[in-house]
Every structure is written in structure tokens, then in C-alpha cells.
């Protein structure tokens, strides 16, 4: 058996373990350790690596941004910022047809600018917006669909935990990836609002009417949003401007949101404990996957499979765009059953070298940025595609009187806009890259 055979055989083994509900990080660790045993003929090498690899991964400076962003998101939920964002969006857009749902999406986008996680964004905004949507007569279908979709803006709009992982995997500049994510993130929010506008016209009974807010109230509502703006400018602006490292920016963001929560009275001993435990859950889960993927990918690299596959695909004269479409379809299918982080960690080390070997008429760096954003979007679609879409579960569990099947139906128009957006961004890389070209 050649090394390539071993690597190819490892895929079905890994998938079998994963589909038997073995935790994904654990499955990757086991397959990676087993695989390197078969390549080296002994455990000596992998065991020697493990002496330093665990600490090396857990204490990595570039990965330390992840728990900091997660804690920042937790503090942001405590600081009442989700309420003030939604209030502001609602007073400005609430009177339009479907306006309260649009406001929820807009507030998700705003919250996404200070939170790097989709589930946290969906959960936080769901708490604030669901009761309001119900009060104004929005159907459970539309309300849960809009919020589940809006939650994905948490990751699409920087800062974003998934982009940090992608940057590390492909050795790209995090700041440039954040810049590149910005326009597609705004387009996502606009797309969702258009979907709502069409939805309420096709199904007139699904949304009620909210009275128009006077301008005095509108401007007053903006004042309460300033802390969000301040944190966003400090964090993302600091990273864009090269003033802080991303880790420093995340620490400052966590400090800022923590301070705001403290001032607003949202942060006390009990809520601090809850925030820490939630951060511990998410961080521990993410790091086990990152660590497992590190071991598994080291094994794949040892087997030379990614390089061989890249050379093979590069020499076959395939149409790059067809390969791209095939890869994106694969992501969409996998996204129906798998979480976004595991997908990125499993697939990028294999797909990235293959895709880089194809010619899309972009420089290597521009290709990496563009591919990263597209992949980010398609894996995020996985969060809202049935049957396994975490955002759907999170939002649905909050809306007690809405059955899951209604949420599945409600999210459909949003998935459609996602697919349209992916198609547009794939066809026109310039949309993603224009901000990077202007700024750097």
C-alpha cells in the first residue's frame, strides 16, 4: 500500500467515525494518529510530536484570538447592545412592509460587527427580536427564518472566527481577509432584506404593520448605538489600520464590551460566570477540532496526497470554473449535515492546494482571499440548511409555538438569496477584492 492509498483510505474511516457520532475533533485525531502509524510503521514520530504539539496549538498566539472573540461576544450580549441595535433599526425601518423583520436582519448585521460567531448572534438577536416580531403580527415562519439567516451575518461580517481559522490554514493575512469579507457581508444583509420584501408581498398575511416612528425618536435611538460603533471601529479599524495585531484587537474588544456591560449593569458575578462557562464550552470544542485537524492534516501532508491531487488536477486541463462549481456544491451538500468549522478544517487543506493549482486569472493572494470568502459563505449556508442547521435549531428552540417544519419553510427564501449571492461573487471576484485593492 502506498502512502497515497493510506491517505485515500483514511477518508472513509474518518467519515465512518464522524457519522457514528464520534466527536469530530476526536475522529480526526484518531484517524490522523492511526494514519501516521501506517505511514511510518510505528508511533514513534507522532508520539514525539505530541510532546509539544498540544501546548503549541493551545497556546498559539494567532489562535488566542478565538477565545478572546468568543468572550467579547458573550460580553456584548450582556451589554444590552443587541437591544439598542434592534431598537435603532426598528425605529428607522419598522414601518415598512416587513420592516420589523428587516430591522432584525439589520440589527444582526450590526451585532455581527462586534461578534465573531453565528450561533451567538442568532441566539442574542433571537431573544430581542422574536417577541417584537410576534407583537407586530409576523408569522413564526418568517420570524424564525429571518433570524436564523440574520444570525449567519455574525460570521460573514468581520470579525469572524472562521476567517481566523482559514487565515491560519492558508497562511493569509487576517486583516486583508476581514477587509474582503466586508462587502459580501453587507450584500448578504441587503439580500436578506430583499428576500423579506418579496416574501411579505407574496404572503400578505405573514407580517403586520408597525406605526412610523417620529424622527426625534429615530435620532435618539442612534445615540444608544454608539458603544457598538466604538467597539467596532476600535477592533476592526485597529486591525485594518495595522495598529493592533488581531489578538490585541480581540482583547481590546473584549475589554470594551466587558466595560460597557459593567456600566450598563449587565455584568455581575453570576453573568460573568455564565459568560466564562459559555466561552469555555465553545473554546474547548473549537480547539479540540483545530488540534485534531492539525494532527490529521499533518498526516495527509506526510502522505503527499494534497500535493499529488493538486498536480493531478492542475495537469488535467479541467475547466477551473467547473471545478469551482463542483467544490461549492460539495460544500453545500456537506453543510446540510456538518458544522462550518469542522468543514473548513477538513476540506481547506485538501481543496486549497487543488484550487490554487487552477488558473482563475487572479494572483495567488487574491485567489486565496476570494476563495476564502466564497467558502466562508457556502459553509455558513450550511448553518441554515435543513435538516442539520444549527441556527435553525437555536432560533426554533426560542420560538416555542413555531414548529421546526415552519422554520425550515421560512428559511428557504434566505437560502435562495445565499445561493444567488455565491453565484454572483463567484462570477465576479472583483466585488470581493475591490476593497482590498483600494486599501492595500
Amino acid at each position: 500500500m502506498t502512502n497515497i492509498d493510506i491517505a485515500l483510505l483514511s477518508f472513509p474511516v474518518l467519515l465512518l467515525l464522524i457519522f457514528l457520532r464520534v466527536p469530530i475533533g476526536l475522529a480526526m485525531l484518531l484517524t490522523g494518529i492511526g494514519g501516521s502509524y501506517f505511514i511510518n510503521g510505528s508511533f514513534l514520530m507522532i508520539f514525539a510530536q505530541l510532546k509539544n504539539l498540544t501546548w503549541g496549538t493551545f497556546s498559539s498566539y494567532s489562535l488566542s484570538i478565538i477565545p478572546l472573540f468568543l468572550l467579547m461576544g458573550q460580553f456584548a450580549t450582556l451589554g444590552g447592545m443587541s437591544q439598542s441595535l434592534f431598537k435603532a433599526a426598528e425605529t428607522w425601518m419598522g414601518h415598512k412592509k416587513g420592516g420589523v423583520a428587516m430591522a432584525a436582519v439589520g440589527a444582526c448585521a450590526g451585532f455581527g460587527a462586534i461578534c465573531g460567531s453565528s450561533l451567538a448572534t442568532a441566539a442574542t438577536m433571537g431573544q430581542v427580536a422574536l417577541p417584537e416580531l410576534k407583537r407586530y403580527g409576523y408569522s413564526g415562519e418568517l420570524a424564525t427564518g429571518a433570524l436564523a439567516a440574520g444570525g449567519t451575518l455574525g460570521i460573514l461580517i468581520p470579525p469572524s472566527v472562521i476567517l481566523v481559522i482559514y487565515a491560519i490554514l492558508t497562511e493569509q493575512n487576517i486583516a486583508k481577509l476581514f477587509v474582503a469579507a466586508f462587502i459580501p457581508g453587507i450584500l448578504a444583509a441587503i439580500g436578506y432584506m430583499i428576500a423579506i420584501a418579496i416574501y411579505v408581498r407574496l404572503k400578505p398575511g405573514s407580517a403586520g404593520q408597525r406605526e412610523r416612528a417620529p424622527y426625534s425618536e429615530r435620532f435618539r435611538s442612534l445615540i444608544d448605538v454608539w458603544p457598538v460603533l466604538l467597539v467596532f471601529i476600535a477592533v476592526v479599524g485597529g486591525i485594518y489600520g495595522g495598529i493592533f495585531t488581531p489578538t490585541e484587537a480581540a482583547a481590546i474588544g473584549a475589554f470594551g464590551t466587558g466595560l460597557i456591560a459593567l456600566v450598563n449593569g449587565g455584568l455581575n458575578r453570576t453573568t460573568l460566570k455564565v459568560s466564562i462557562l459559555a466561552t469555555a464550552s465553545a473554546t474547548g470544542m473549537i480547539f479540540l477540532i483545530v488540534f485534531g485537524a492539525g494532527v490529521y492534516n499533518a498526516f495527509l501532508a506526510l502522505s503527499q496526497l494534497p500535493q499529488t491531487a493538486a498536480t493531478y488536477v492542475g495537469s488535467q486541463g479541467f475547466n477551473p470554473w467547473l471545478v469551482m462549481v463542483a467544490v461549492l456544491l460539495l460544500y453545500l451538500i456537506f453543510g446540510c449535515v456538518m458544522d462550518s468549522l469542522s468543514m473548513i478544517l477538513l476540506t481547506v487543506p485538501i481543496f486549497f492546494p487543488i484550487m490554487s493549482a487552477l488558473d482563475f486569472g487572479l494572483s495567488p493572494e487574491e485567489f486565496a482571499l476570494w476563495f476564502g470568502i466564497i467558502v466562508l459563505i457556502v459553509v455558513e449556508v450550511g448553518l441554515i440548511t435543513p435538516p442539520v442547521g444549527m441556527n435553525l435549531f437555536v432560533i426554533n428552540s426560542m420560538a416555542k409555538d413555531t414548529p421546526l417544519s415552519a422554520t425550515y419553510r421560512g428559511v428557504f427564501p434566505f437560502v435562495m438569496t445565499d445561493i444567488i449571492r455565491v453565484a454572483i461573487l463567484t462570477m465576479f471576484p472583483a466585488i470581493t477584492l475591490v476593497a482590498v485593492r483600494l486599501l492595500y
Partner: protein, 176 residues
């Protein structure tokens, strides 16, 4: 007796997670101080020397300390699409196997991390700037690693017990 150990394990995991969280908060404060110092160079202040080494120390300790909490609450990401169609007995068997595998990995990681700590101690390696001995940092990780092993053993006991009694286990809620 059983319930007492269960409570003890859950408190241990929670305590370690909180300690890890406090380490993260220390990292945040140190970084903010360092960045402020850098911004106030003109006022005679300066950044904390080797601040990134403190960040690495703090997060390394924290991540190790978080592992027991994730395990005891069964919050590791997994795919349930196929197994949810299997019967509850089959699922309990899977629980036992998967907890045993997790225990094996917890033991392996702790054993190797211990060996790594001894190496760093023997060579007297220090970090570049602050020059604290690296084995301190490694040893701080051992705290969480040992907790991870203990909790993993307990999880095996819990899932074996559930298999024998035919009762379902309490699963933690989804991580946000």
C-alpha cells in the same frame, strides 16, 4: 456515593473552566495595558515587555482547563444525522465507545504532555523575552489535562451505567 462523585466531577470541571476564564481575563487586561502603554510612549510609558508570551501562557492554560468542562457536558461537535435514526440501545453503545476513545486520547495527550514538560524541565528552556522557564507553562497545562483524564474516566462510567440501566443520559445544551 455515585451522586457525590458526579457532583464533585462537575464542580471540578466548572472550577477549572472558571480558572481558565480568569486567565483569559488576565490576558485581556495585560494586553490592554500593553497597548495603552505603547500608545502613551510620549508620556514615558511603554508596552509590557514580552506581552505575547503572557498571552500564550494564559490561553494555553485556559484551553487545557476548558477541556473537562466540554467533555462532562458532552458539548463536542458531532454529527447526529445517522445515529438519531438508530435505537436508543445502539446509541448507548456508541456513547460507551466514543467515551472510551476520548479517554484513550485524554490519557495519550496527558502522558505525552507530561513527557514534554519533563523535556522542557531537563533542558531548562526559557521563553525569548521574559525568559520564564517554558516548563512552567507546560506544567500549567497539566492541571487541565489531568482534569480532562479524570472527567473522561467519569464519562465512561456514566455511559456504561446508562447502557446497563437502559436509561438515557443527560446531554449538555448546545454550545453557543
Amino acid at each position: 456515593m455515585f451522586d457525590r462523585i458526579d457532583r464533585l466531577m462537575r464542580s471540578l470541571a466548572a472550577l477549572l473552566a472558571i480558572l481558565g476564564g480568569l486567565a483569559l481575563i488576565a490576558v485581556i487586561l495585560a494586553t490592554v495595558m500593553s497597548v495603552s502603554g505603547r500608545a502613551l510612549l510620549w508620556a514615558g510609558l511603554g508596552p509590557i515587555r514580552g506581552d505575547f508570551e503572557l498571552v500564550e501562557l494564559g490561553t494555553g492554560f485556559a484551553v487545557f482547563a476548558f477541556l473537562p468542562w466540554v467533555q462532562i457536558n458532552r458539548q463536542h461537535a458531532s454529527v447526529e444525522i445517522l445515529t438519531m435514526h438508530l435505537g436508543s440501545a445502539a446509541n448507548r453503545v456508541i456513547d460507551v465507545i466514543s467515551d472510551l476513545l476520548m479517554l484513550a486520547i485524554a490519557l495519550l495527550l496527558t502522558w505525552k504532555h507530561w513527557a514534554g514538560t519533563l523535556d522542557k524541565f531537563a533542558y531548562g528552556e526559557t521563553t525569548f523575552i521574559i525568559q520564564y522557564p517554558i516548563w512552567w507553562a507546560y506544567a500549567s497545562g497539566l492541571v487541565g489535562a489531568v482534569g480532562f483524564v479524570l472527567v473522561s474516566i467519569w464519562c465512561v462510567i456514566l455511559s456504561v451505567r446508562a447502557l446497563m440501566n437502559g436509561e438515557s443520559q443527560t446531554h449538555g445544551e448546545t454550545a453557543h
